[in-house]
């Protein structure tokens, strides 16, 4: 997957950029009026993350977390490589966005278009699992009708990933075809080395960015800088090994097992702790389901918007008649698993998950995708073997009784 670039067999030219020059690059871009999106540290107590709430109540503790933000100053850039709480999705499919605006005067209605082209912007130090998710969602946004709002933002963005050291035991990007140094969905990769970063552009947009700011980069020519290159390669390989140790599955076996075991009690039992809050969908870089609503703005005018939605909400599939095809939480959770690991791969050839682990980290009920995929993989490839402890719980009906 990491080799999937548009440069063919030729290895991309690597450049060195120092820490100071990377900040200077951000400053150059901001100075030229280009938006720069990058991870920044935020006071967790001021962020929407519910996870921070308990920590914020403790005296003397000021928890810090990362968020992607359109920065105003290069000093804000935080390359500490923590995972932002929300994925990069918010900059491509905003939490809510205008689809059109209407004005009504008497019987006359006019509809105003919203722009579908966007000013160029640069994303620095994106997580590889976040850029890969954009490439995965590209499929559904273009399988017939083309979503110009999504595509416009994609085209306007040049994305440089930062090779990820692997965050924790919830990461599993290598199990779903990605990697901590993936450039899928991105235009280049930064790998931390002594004193700065090795930068490699993998698309024309990426090469154009380096060319336009050539003064900030110095070409790396082996063998003079072989040690630097080796350091980068070693770190990337080590990260791949670390994440692979978290979870190894055969994604195709998982896909096919789910497609043929819709009514299998394992799927219901894996949903046992889920209470349908939908936080997983909000933090997920690939969840793209949305609602369309009208928002009135005074008399006779308003905005039609789309906003994030979740298949975990009972109202998601509720018919006007009152009939609900997914009227129980374990059925809605099954849809989430089915859509991500079976339906989407069968329809679009991509797993609708990049293994970022956010859904597991954010889940207050303890639903753990590493555990769940592991259990399905065992059912698919080694039927008869007991699944991991804690995954096969009581029957779904019992959850209702207990809650």
């Amino acid at each position: 997957m990491t080799d999937a670039t548009d440069t063919g067999a030729v290895a991309p030219q690597r450049h060195f950029i120092s820490e100071a020059d990377l900040r200077a690059l951000a400053a150059d871009l901001l100075g030229a009026g280009t938006d720069v999106i990058a991870p920044v540290s935020v006071d967790a107590c001021q962020s929407p993350s519910a996870l921070a709430t308990a920590a914020c109540l403790r005296p003397g503790v000021a928890p810090v977390e990362a968020e992607y933000k359109a920065i105003g100053d290069a000093a804000e850039l935080d390359l500490g490589r923590a995972q932002p709480v929300l994925s990069l999705k918010q900059f491509f499919l905003p939490e809510h966005e205008a689809l059109c605006r209407w004005h009504q005067r008497g019987l006359e209605v006019t509809v105003e278009e919203v722009p579908t082209s966007f000013a160029p912007r640069v994303v620095l130090a994106a997580k590889p699992c976040d850029s890969a998710a954009l490439a995965v969602v590209d499929e559904v946004m273009n399988w017939d009708y083309e979503d110009e709002l999504w595509n416009g933002r994609r085209e306007a963005s040049t994305i440089f990933n930062l090779a990820c050291p692997v965050i924790d035991e919830s990461c599993f990007c290598t199990a779903v075809g990605s990697a901590p140094d993936d450039v899928k969905g991105a235009d280049g990769l930064l790998t931390p080395v002594e004193g700065g970063y090795l930068a490699e552009a993998t698309t024309d947009k990426g090469r154009a960015l380096i060319a336009a700011h050539a003064a900030r980069f110095s070409p790396v020519d082996e063998p003079a800088t072989a040690a630097l290159v080796r350091q980068a390669d070693d770190e990337r390989a080590a990260a791949r090994r670390r994440v692979a140790a978290n979870l190894e599955i055969d994604a195709e076996s998982v896909r096919d097992w789910i497609a043929t075991h819709f009514e299998d009690p394992l799927l219901a039992s894996l949903a046992i702790r889920c209470n349908g809050c939908g936080a997983c969908s909000s933090v997920c870089p690939t969840c793209h389901c949305f609602d369309i609503v009208d928002e009135e703005e005074g008399v006779g005018r308003g905005t039609r918007r789309r906003c994030w939605d979740t298949c975990q909400a009972p109202t998601f599939t509720l018919h006007a008649s009152g009939h609900n095809p997914r009227d129980d939480q374990h059925v809605r959770y099954r849809q989430r698993i089915n859509h991500k690991f079976s339906i989407y791969p069968l329809k679009f050839g991509e797993v609708l998950c990049t293994g970022c682990g956010r859904c597991t980290r954010v889940c207050h009920a303890g639903q753990d995708l590493v555990e769940i995929l592991g259990a399905i993989d065992i059912a698919a490839r080694r039927p008869g073997e007991p699944v991991a402890a804690g995954t096969a719980g009581p029957e779904p009906g019992d959850a209702e009784a207990a809650s």
Binding site: L99, C100, W102, Q104, L107, E108, V109, V111, E113, V114, T116, V140, M141, W143, D144, Y145, E146, D147, E148, L149, A259, F262, H288, C289, F290, D291, I292, V293, D294, E296, G302, R304, R306, D309, C311, F316, T317, L318, H319, A320, S321, H323, P325, R326, V331, Q335, N338, H339, I343, L346, K347
Partner: protein, 276 residues
């Protein structure tokens, strides 16, 4: 103009079908759209009242009647309640046509049996008129339509129209207790009435639409009469938002109802997880 932006359409006629079901006739405001707009029987659209939002209905008028489209709806939610308030001369929004269609052209020379329950007649009406407007191309036409009560029958004038035609076999029924003193149709649920009507299945296709219970109970009856799974067509009415295969709402197993459907054969439906 992005794919979510609606066309504006003028309401040119309003018909109250039942105390809670209304039909609107719409004509596109933009002349070029009015000229170029084309659709196929079974396709649907997103209808909107600005300020209330969008709602999904089939196009209830046939493609053989050009210059306008019609939709029929029951006022049950926010958008349909707002649609219920619009009058002739008001402007609404429309996006579409979306989805696949009934393969009417493949039915040439065959008998066509229509079975509908309640407001399920709306998408079927489009196909009925499409077939009747091209009557010579088809064999026998049978229509079995049922509703809870006489008051709940939609398209009453058209039911009379179809019933009076020599080239249509029309059976109308109401649920027991739903009949009036002067009711001359059948009394009973749709499913047994279909069984009693017993349309012959050889060289025939069936179009079935209604509440989930009517579809569920009528399918085995059609099969018993000899209809093969790939000769029974229905239209699924999953909740939708975008209609364009993006928003994820109508997904069931391998299909997005809005793009792979809404028209499915019984064979295709049986291959789907039971989530509709």
């Amino acid at each position: 103009m992005n794919i979510y932006q609606p066309q504006l359409a003028l309401v040119t006629d309003v018909v109250d079908e039942t105390p809670d079901t209304r039909t609107l006739r719409l004509e596109f405001q933009d002349e070029a759209v009015r000229e170029s707009f084309a659709f196929k029987a079974g396709q649907f659209g997103e209808y909107s009242v600005f300020g209330a939002g969008e709602s999904t209905f089939c196009i209830a008028s046939p493609p053989t009647r050009e210059g306008y489209i019609e939709c029929s709806f029951k006022a049950v939610g926010k958008v349909t309640t707002a649609l219920r308030e619009v009058n002739v001369g008001d402007t609404v929004g429309f996006r579409g046509p979306y989805g696949n269609s009934f393969p009417v052209d493949d039915w040439k020379g065959k008998d066509v049996v229509f079975v509908a329950g309640g407001i399920g007649l709306a998408p079927v009406r489009c196909v009925i008129w499409n077939v009747l407007d091209r009557r010579d191309e088809f064999g026998d036409v049978t229509i079995v339509y049922g509703a809870r009560s006489v008051a709940d029958l939609v398209y009453k004038r058209e039911l009379e129209d179809w019933g009076s035609r020599a080239d249509v076999k029309m059976v109308t029924t109401v649920d027991p207790g739903g009949e009036t003193k002067d009711w001359t149709g059948e009394v009973g649920y749709v499913t047994p009435v279909v069984e009693a009507t017993a349309p012959q299945a050889q060289n025939a296709v069936a179009v079935l639409c209604g509440p989930p219970i009517v579809v569920k109970l009528t399918l085995p009856v059609l099969e018993k009469l000899g209809f093969a799974d790939d000769t029974i067509f229905t239209t699924l009415e999953n909740r939708m938002k975008c209609g364009l295969g993006k928003c994820g709402r109508c997904n069931i197993g391998p299909v997005y109802v809005c793009k792979d459907g809404p028209v499915f054969t019984a064979a295709q439906m049986k291959a789907l997880p039971a989530e509709f």
